[in-house]
Amino acid sequence: DTLSKIKETGTVTMGVRESSGLSYTLGDGKYVGYHIDVCQKVISDIRKKLGLSSLTIKYQPVTSQNRIPLVQNGTVDIECGSTTNNLARQKDVAFAVTTYVEEVRTAVKADSGISSISQLAGKTIATTTGTTSVQTLRKHERANGIDFKEVFGKDHADSFLLLESGRADAFVMDGSILAKNIATSKNPAGFKIVGEVLSVEPIAIMLRKDDPAFKAAVDDSIKAQIKSGELAKTYDKWFLQPIPPTNAKIGLPLSGATKAAWANPNDKPMEDYAKR
């Protein structure tokens, strides 16, 4: 199992993302972000628990396509990107307790006059290929009988560019990503996040399935971080203070949903949130 493997080899492989809201690279093999800070704390707790004097962390960049297989086949021990905990994935992998609750929102140009998703009928909406937002949008379209044109960027920067260049009227995506893109854009005042929350997704650290001891160790560390207020400090550092490399402020205050998840640590999948 993972704990004894870590003890034996003295290394742990952390799955990281090159550019997501919670985990990104500064180049040169440096990876930073909210989730990475959380994971590093978790790993140092595990090191103490295993009584090791040192523990090497190897960073393995993952993509949304290969992160699950990589956790399954043992390449990655602890995935600290920004992975949504849902039922389908729970068949293949395990999740630690939720560390952040993402809300899917809509970004528009500030002067567009759009303030709600219902105003988007017949308009063009951008979102990013390979994200759950695409499906969210489809569901929304079906449920409310609204018909909008969709364009798909190959990554978030692309999608934001579609909004910026006027090819799309709105960009539907995780709130943290929208906020970050707006904050780092050439004209942050030119965009705003509007409208209702289209979907709520618990984001959690992903682990190998059927390794309860390891999951317990990770969960305990996170719960301890919540209790000591350290997690809130980490949140503040990444969402409210200037962050590298541009020193922009994302400016996304702690949401009620995230607060609730911390108050009552759990690893419930996304589907449970939707039911409420």
């Binding site: 949304s64 396509q65 290969n66 699950i68 297989p69 399954q72 849902n86 389908a88 994935r89 068949k91 293949d92 290929t129 390979g130 994200t131 759950t132 695409v134 499906q135 489809r138 569901k139 079906r142 969709e150 364009v151 798909f152 960027g153 190959k154 692309d158 560019l161 260049s165 090819r167």
Partner: protein
């Protein structure tokens, strides 16, 4: 590792498994989606191939003419389009050029990607066409001209029929490459196979199954091209010459 092939019979919004695997009345299963994605891949590839053959042949021919300026133009075209990665070219076509030339904004992304992929491939085809023409004995050109054919007629009736026969094999490779390279179309929002794999994999968490299905379809497409080209090669083989030359 467990396989879950039922995933293809699942409706893409509700997540229900539909009997018969094909959706009806607005319902769409992943299988429906997969097939339509295949259709997009084939359409992008086929049209891009037409563009690539047209421009590639034209530019390749220009590079073998006696006119220095035409040769320079042909060389510049080839170097420009083959030395920048396709993905970057697509980005430039889609995001950069339209903001410089407003009229380009009116073109749907499908048209842009067909031209981007077509031009990229045309650079390589022009190399082959040029090599094919230059591999013919010089005397063939002289013979055509000596009989009073004009230069265009010499190309049309003497040089090109042989040159194209000679380059059928490398052209086949290019046609197969175009199918594979068409995957970049996902970057400009065309719902082709690669986008399907990315998106459906994310939605269902069955990446392996999706990739397997898509890989098989790519393989079938490219292999069909290979067979068709082989058939053409045999059909145009000139009696009395080895290897269809």
């Amino acid at each position: 590792m467990t396989w879950d092939w039922q995933i293809f019979c699942t409706e893409t919004v509700t997540g229900e498994v539909l009997p018969g695997c094909f959706g009806r009345g607005g319902d769409i299963t992943y299988l429906d989606w997969l097939l339509s994605a295949w259709g997009w891949t084939l359409s992008v590839s086929a049209l891009a191939l037409v563009v690539a053959l047209f421009f590639g042949s034209l530019v390749g021919i220009l590079r073998t003419t006696p006119d220095r300026r035409l040769v320079f133009f042909g060389n510049a075209w080839t170097e420009l389009f083959r030395n920048i990665p396709l993905l970057v070219q697509i980005f430039l076509w889609y995001h950069v050029l339209p903001s410089l030339f407003k009229p380009l904004q009116a073109f749907p992304s499908f048209v842009l990607v067909v031209f981007a992929l077509g031009f990229f491939t045309s650079a390589r085809i022009s190399e082959q066409v040029r090599a094919g023409i230059q591999s013919l004995p010089r005397g063939q050109r002289y013979a055509g001209l000596a009989m009073g054919l004009t230069l265009p007629q010499t190309y049309r009736y003497v040089l090109l029929p042989m040159a194209f026969r000679i380059i059928v094999p490398p052209l086949t490779s290019e046609a197969m490459n175009i199918i594979k390279n068409s995957s970049v179309a996902f970057a400009v929002s065309i719902a082709e196979l690669t986008m399907f794999a990315l998106q459906a994999g994310e939605e269902t968490s069955r990446n392996i199954e999706m990739y397997l299905a898509v890989t098989v379809l790519y393989f079938i497409s490219a292999f069909t091209i290979n067979r068709v080209a082989q058939f053409i090669e045999n059909r145009v083989r000139v009696p009395g010459m080895i290897g269809g030359k």
